[in-house]
């Protein structure tokens, strides 16, 4: 009983600012669900799926590699950590604007871009999509590095040393000791990255506004468009509701399964 008491403050605020609004969204969105059956939404769903599939593994991998490479207190590592984290800190507008500058077809990387066959990346559906993924990965990786750095702290040094005394190389020690002990963190980072790829898309506002020809019309950007640009709140609610239902279902099915692979006891 006691533990639930500890959850109470959180539940009270969730009720006021998540559950009640969710109910409102459901009431407004339910009748508008048929409105969702338009080609724009189908294409947006495809874009979102591809975005998540690329963004999640890439940003986690980069975050993990950064954490492993930058653990410790060396001066250089401290500075590189600041570097990796800086996209999280700067206003998205500014960080995304850098790429608006760099990827300008007449900008400083003109020659390189031409060599890659992407003369005008942001003015081309494929190029724009890849640019949005790239900026998303760079923006999120710092965050995941941070979680992994925190997670690495929970790994008793003795275990690592023991593994190395046993003659295991670094790679082996990583897979035998570090990786299993990082699974609680990886579970967390994985879930957050999946949800993040569905939520943190501010850079799309700056880079492409969902274009060209819908190539970067992420579902979250679409919710914004429907609600705050078309003022079709029922449709925006319906889309949010669909997302809620999908993620809820996923959480119901996938979370326990995923967590079975997590080792909480060192």
């Amino acid at each position: 009983m006691r533990p639930w008491l500890f959850l109470l403050p959180t539940l009270v605020f969730l009720a006021a600012f998540t559950y009640v609004p969710a109910l409102r969204i459901a009431i407004e969105g339910l009748p508008a669900l048929p409105k969702l059956l338009v080609p724009e939404n189908a294409s947006s769903l495809r874009v979102t799926l591809l975005y998540v599939l690329l963004n999640v593994p890439l940003s986690i991998l980069l975050g993990l590699l950064a954490a492993l490479a930058l653990e410790g207190n060396g001066r250089l590592r401290q500075w590189v950590r600041v570097l990796v984290f800086h996209p999280v800190i700067l206003p998205t507008v500014a960080f995304a604007a850098v790429f608006l500058y760099l990827l300008n077809p007449l900008g400083p990387l003109q020659g390189l871009l031409r060599g890659l066959g992407l003369q005008n990346p942001l003015g081309d559906p494929l190029g724009a999509f890849l640019a949005v993924v790239l900026v998303g990965v760079l923006k999120d990786a710092g965050l995941y590095m941070l979680y992994y750095l925190a997670g690495l702290q929970n790994i008793p040094k003795e275990l690592l040393e023991a593994a190395q005394v046993d003659g295991a190389g670094r790679a082996l020690a990583f897979f035998k000791v570090t990786w299993p002990l990082l699974t609680p963190t990886t579970f967390f980072v994985g879930v957050m990255a999946a949800l993040g790829a569905l939520r943190n898309v501010d850079h799309i506002f700056i880079l492409t506004k969902g274009g060209p020809t819908g190539a970067t019309d992420h579902v979250l950007y679409r919710v914004y468009t429907l609600g705050f640009e078309y003022f079709d709140f029922p449709a925006a609610s319906a889309l949010s509701l669909a997302l809620l239902a999908f993620l809820g279902l996923l959480a119901l099915v996938a979370l326990p399964r995923l967590e079975r692979g997590v080792h909480y006891d060192a």
């Binding site: 300008n104 077809p105 005008n120 274009g211 060209p212 020809t213 705050f228 640009e229």
Partner: protein, 430 residues
């Protein structure tokens, strides 16, 4: 006589208000569309207004860019607390009407000679989006039109007369070919022309459609008739495509709005289509002599107007309404419009502004600012439509599909027309 009487009454009201220590507070939402301390300028004007009108307090609310400000106003309407006035796109008339959120100015124009005079002093082109059924729903504040900017030095280099900008589409292509410069490997170092295809906007396309003799909407259509599947629209879209694909005088793909003035200022493009609002930016950044001109015609000159106006919102009490009107009159006065034009680069919307000494001095220094004013004689109302942003998105996407060479222009125009009609149906099938 009448004026004196009015002034006295106002003076009396002011004195009374002050005597009772009562201030009328009005709320005013504004967007910022140009980089720089524009928010500070607006707040300074408001402070000047408050100094001259000590009985009124204006709560200035920064609302982000045009779209965000509109969203913020809608949120406030939904919460039952609309602002007293806001600066929103002149094109948003029908969207705001469909929300039953705004009131016309007419009752006040009838009563107030000063307001009446103001309304007749705005450039008629800037009032086109404001009026419906003879009623005035908004008053111009930050207005612009798209123009042609050209690099005079590049003109000289290519053997063109820097005082004779292209006047027709054919000339534009011909000039652009001569202005496009390639290096030894055949790579382009300077493009002839760039006409941006901004994501989610139809502004520049509209200009081309007008120049081709068409219009993106039926002027009698009351926001319900948007015309995409027409010959001028197809010609306009195809023209944009051909600049890169056929004539090779323009960068491939969709050209971004935001980076185009910079490319022009850096000498990487010799001619661009852009807003008059970019004049300040180009002035500050270009190191060569540049000119501005009407956008070339196909069969006629013409561009849409752009920018944002003051609206009056329902639910304001008479006292607040009176204070709001006084504020709007102040912000749209010839003096303030001149000041705002010089500060921001927008076109002063009052004719009287242009004969003021500060404006004359400014124009003497920057004659390029005159182009926009003169082009107003050929300007049309910017696409007015219900469900505006969705309609714009559909057309912009169609345009992009043509520019990218994904589909044939006839197919694109036909499809877009069907989708636009569908987007308008819920608002128009009464």
């Amino acid at each position: 006589m009448a004026r004196d009487w009015r002034k006295q009454t106002v003076g009396l009201l002011v004195a009374l208000g002050l005597a009772f220590g009562q201030k009328t507070t009005i709320t005013f939402y504004y967007p910022v569309g140009v980089a720089g301390p524009l928010a500070r300028f607006i707040e300074a004007y408001v402070a000047d207004f408050e100094k001259a009108n000590p009985d009124v307090e204006v709560k200035t609310v920064f609302g982000g860019n045009y779209e965000e400000n509109q969203a913020k106003v809608v949120a406030a309407i939904k919460a039952g607390t609309p602002p007293d006035t806001a600066i929103l796109l002149s094109q948003q008339l029908f969207t705001l009407l469909s929300m039953d959120a705004i009131e016309p100015f007419d009752p006040y124009i009838a009563r107030d000679p000063e307001l009446k005079q103001a309304v007749s002093d705005f450039f008629p082109a800037f009032m086109m989006n404001s009026t419906l059924d003879g009623k005035v729903y908004s008053l111009p504040f930050q207005r612009s039109t798209p123009i042609l900017y050209y690099n005079k030095e590049a003109f000289r280099e290519a053997g063109l007369d820097p005082n004779r900008p292209p006047a027709t589409w054919d000339e534009l292509v011909e000039y652009a070919k001569r202005l496009t410069k390639r290096d030894a490997q055949g790579r382009v170092v300077r493009y002839g022309v760039a006409i941006p295809t901004e994501n989610r906007s139809t502004w520049l396309l509209e200009g081309l459609v007008i120049q081709a003799g068409g219009l993106l909407y039926d002027p009698q259509g009351r926001g319900c008739k948007v015309l995409v599947n027409t010959e001028p629209v197809r010609q306009a879209m195809q023209f944009k495509r051909d600049l890169a694909a056929v004539h090779k005088v323009s960068p491939e793909g969709v050209i971004a709005w935001g980076t185009t003035p910079g490319d022009f200022a850096a000498g990487k493009v010799a001619m661009i289509y852009h807003s008059t609002g970019s004049l300040g930016f180009i002035r500050d950044n270009a190191r060569f002599e540049f000119g501005t001109a009407f956008q070339p015609k196909k069969v006629r000159y013409g561009v849409p107007t752009g920018g944002a106006n003051f609206y009056l919102f329902k639910g304001s009490d008479p006292k607040k309404r009176e204070a709001t009107l006084r504020f709007i009159k102040f912000m749209t006065s010839p003096e303030l419009q001149a000041r705002w034009s010089i500060d921001s680069g927008y076109v002063a919307a009052r004719r009287a502004s242009w004969s003021l000494p500060i404006m004359k001095e400014y124009v003497k220094k920057w004659p390029q600012a005159l182009t926009a004013r003169e082009q107003l004689a050929y300007a049309k109302a910017e696409l007015p439509a219900y469900n505006l942003q969705q309609v714009k998105d559909i057309i912009a996407e169609a345009e992009q599909a043509v520019v990218l060479g994904q589909k044939d222009v006839r197919e694109v125009a036909r499809e877009a027309q069907a989708r636009v009609d569908q987007a308008l149906a819920p608002f128009c099938s009464r």
